[in-house]
Symmetry: C2
Subunit: 409 residues, 2 copies
């Protein structure tokens, strides 16, 4: 049995016309001989309407089983409507709520993790002639029998988890963009759509702000080796295949330029350089919920050291308070606390970087030619990030995009 999992986001099922368009997209795959598991989000605007109702009746804590029960009804409406729409054109379909399969999760309401998915009922129904199993995304059931939701972008995770559990050949994620681009086309008009991208690259892209696929979903797909195809439900285009590195023959040295706009940095000067000092600094920051990203330590001639780190600009004040408090308590000692706002992070990402030298060199040269100064550098196997002044962000993205020839991918 050839099984394809397809996920349709909120804008793809926004109204009756869109649901009928989704019905037709699925119908095409059925003609291609597939059995389809279609995972659906709530009709766009519906979830916000439900959240608004909850707030009006005085919901206090979004980590509330009632809140999950309420919000999950949005997906239930979509899944039944799509099943009705498919049945009406004689494509045998049935809907499943999370609890009906079941999709078992832990009990962390509003941000639950999937623990186990039973797909026996879907398989049985396929054997009995059902062609499309429509599943409510974003939801599950915990041990005590209460409905849970999976958090932001949870329907992506539902779709990939079901694809893994049912051993689907692929998970097609239908959204309102046509695929994964080499960078944000709003900044670089001739950004290219990637035909293929590895899971690892996609993870770096997603966490850096290319908001197409949820990180959790990509991680899950990578772990279970489920290829994901990102497609536009509004346009019939090829899309982008997110797959295992081994399935990519021609590896790009650089596949994309990601960026994060609102960064800031803090430097602590003349810290006593001895073991454990970093832990003493970053402990209080972690407890305060500050998301530290890049960290650089540089020794001075006096035997003391400077530490610089970056964090989102809206967390800068919290970070400063936490550091100052630690100083007052004599947990850490430093001379000065220097803040630097209005920064941005630009990253070049590519699995080909593993085997190609000179990529960093090319990046630094390109930025230097544009007189863009680099504050902090951080590297991983497939990523190279720099912190620069925010006003140069667009220029940096465009010049790097050109330098690495990404318009021709």
């Amino acid at each position: 049995m050839k099984i394809l999992t397809m996920k349709f986001g909120g804008t793809s099922v926004a109204d009756i016309d869109r649901i009928k368009a989704v019905r037709d997209i699925i119908s095409d795959e059925i003609r291609g001989g597939w059995n389809v598991v279609a995972v659906v989000s709530a009709m766009s605007k519906e979830t916000n309407k439900l959240i608004d109702l909850a707030k009006q009746v005085g919901v206090e804590n979004l980590v509330d089983p009632e809140y999950d029960s309420l919000i999950s009804t949005g997906e239930d409406v979509s899944s039944s409507l799509l099943a009705i729409a498919l049945n009406s054109i004689k494509i045998s379909s049935r809907s499943w709520r999370g609890w009906q399969l079941p999709i078992r999760t832990d009990s962390f309401h509003s941000n639950a993790k999937i623990e186990e998915i039973t797909t026996d009922q879907i398989i049985s129904s396929f054997k009995e002639g059902v062609k499309v199993a429509v599943v409510s995304g974003f939801q599950g059931i915990e041990q005590a029998g209460r409905i849970t939701t999976l958090g932001r972008g949870g329907s992506d995770t539902s779709a990939v988890a079901i694809a893994a559990a049912i051993d689907a050949e692929r998970c097609d994620i239908y959204t309102d963009v046509s695929g994964i681009y080499t960078t944000d086309p709003r900044i670089k008009k001739n950004a290219s759509k990637l035909k293929k991208i590895s899971f690892e690259e996609m993870l770096e892209m997603a966490s850096l702000g290319a908001n197409v696929l949820q990180t959790r979903a990509v991680e899950l797909a990578m772990r279970h080796k489920v290829p994901i195809r990102v497609l536009n439900s509004f346009l019939k285009e090829e899309g982008t295949l997110v797959c295992d590195e081994e399935e990519i023959m021609e590896k790009n040295i650089v596949s994309g330029i990601a960026f994060q706009k609102n960064e800031s940095q803090l430097t602590l000067t003349n810290i006593e350089d001895k073991p454990g000092v970093a832990a003493k600094i970053f402990g209080p920051l972690a407890s305060s919920g500050v998301n530290i990203d890049m960290i650089v330590q540089s020794n001075t001639e006096t035997g003391l050291t400077n530490i610089t780190f970056s964090c989102p600009e809206d967390e800068l004040d919290i970070a400063k308070k936490a550091i100052s408090k630690a100083k007052e308590k004599n947990v850490v000692s430093y001379e000065r606390l220097i803040e630097n706002k209005n920064l941005a992070k630009v990253s070049i990402i590519g699995i080909g970087m593993k085997t190609h030298a000179g990529v960093a060199q090319k990046m630094f040269e390109t930025l230097s030619q544009e007189n863009i100064n680099i504050n902090v550098i951080s590297t991983s196997e497939i990523k190279l990030s720099v912190l620069i002044e925010r006003k140069y962000l667009e220029l940096a993205v465009r010049s790097l995009h050109d330098a690495f020839g990404l318009q021709n991918l």
Copy 2:
């Protein structure tokens, strides 16, 4: 443990302000020491919105599991919202969907019958300190695990069935009227609100058109001896208690005047009077789906007989066709088929009629004084119905209401 079941209809939870009003009504009962099971309908308009969506995606058959799944989400939204509203004022509450208890039903989608309700979880939660169990009305789950709905007015049935299963002391049905009246106040302004009415009387009232309580719910309440109180969620008033005859000390001879506006009658003349002839006439009518109500047979001097029966006026043509067809096939023989449209049925209902003579006499006299001719009469232990010309309906209701002193109940 003192358990009260309360049911709130669609207009009672129509919007956030109404849901907060319901929250406060429940809060009053909690202060009175009750544990409450609150059964809720969908916010008014929501069910129609969902039905409309289903039609737009091409639902063909309303007896469709998908349709039930879809429609039932309306009640799920209400139950979660009410639980959130109660929790927000520190009244410990939780919601249950039909499948969560479970409320087991047969598999007749869109018109399922409740087979069994398990209330263990509610009882356990009460023992753990939960004060209000909010249950989605109108829904259940069938053996194969699919959601069912109970048909029109199903939330009344849910509430009474849960009250019976959990051995609640009473089932309060909150609606948009203040109770059961001696007749329709739109016809007789000084109609009285009844303090008490027996189940039997209520059944006669309901099936005759006093559309406050669903007949199925009243039958269930009667069978399980669950007292029902009908209350107005918009006004703090005493309401009407629907209870066992034995709990009514002062039995009214007549409790109410019910009526049905659009009746018609058919008379078949000179039928051969022999056993089985009635079956031959009413068999084809039943097969055609005609709802026959009153039937009168009168012998003529010639040894032949006339049969007159009444049916809703919009079923008259179907009835005529069915009878004519039966004549063509020589199943029945009669001389003439006389139709009589523009009729109405007026009924006086009262458990006191069982032990009081002269009620019929008084009814006939009253109508005679107004020069209202009676076409057909039918009687039961607690009801006396007459078929009259429709133009006299209001006059008949008013004069009977006065004659039996119902304005002073």
